[in-house]
Subunit: 95 residues, 2 copies
DNA sequence: GAAATATTTAGATGATTGGCTAAATGTCTG
DNA sequence: CAGACATTTAGCCAATCATCTAAATATTTC
């Protein structure tokens, strides 16, 4: 898993908002976009970034493409965060 | 709390490496920089970003400035992540 | 199969970013 | 105080990024 892709994907507020929007369940690209004031093309760009980070999954359903949260990365993300901020405080290192 | 600052700060690999380096305990700017192939000026820029995100704390000690991890943000960061990926699985898979 | 709808791709543009060099600031020591 | 050392600030530049418009692709419907 490419840690860099995940952190990069989360760095943009629009993308984080997309993820939040998906918490209510899977949505088509258009339905997600309805909440944002950006063009479908820009939206699509954000989807691509989220997908590359494996944060969302896609499934074509007829003429729609449906996006859903990939909750399994939650675990990976938690690991990444813990990796940066070890529990029990930073002091001590390998003692 | 400025969520955006935190995610932005974590988006850069050098900054994440700095955080990791600080896990062993507080270090002076110079000591941290020794591990990276960038100028002190660039390093200082990264420190500023990390500080703005409240991920590190500084303390002047003589002519050195000592950086240390601010582990308390760990909690905030965990909350941010959980906020994006609600535990119990985002209802949303496919249908 | 052509029109309509949904989404992505291509290409362009302005803003942000990470890096550099040079200069400024802060602190210790002789 | 002067000179050395540590770090930051100030400008500058190239690369990346978020966004746009226009065009392409995919799918349904008539």
């Amino acid at each position: 898993m490419k840690q860099q892709d995940v952190f990069r994907a989360l760095a943009d507020p629009t993308r984080r908002a997309i993820l939040k929007r998906l918490q209510g369940g899977a949505l088509s690209a258009g339905d997600i976009g309805a909440a944002f004031d950006i063009t479908p093309a820009s939206l699509s760009h954000h989807f691509a970034v989220l997908k590359q980070a494996d944060l969302v999954r896609t499934e074509r359903r007829g003429q729609y493409i449906v996006y859903s949260l990939n909750s399994t990365v939650m675990e990976d993300l938690a690991r990444m965060v813990l990796d940066l901020f070890p529990p029990g405080g930073a002091r001590g290192g390998k003692r």
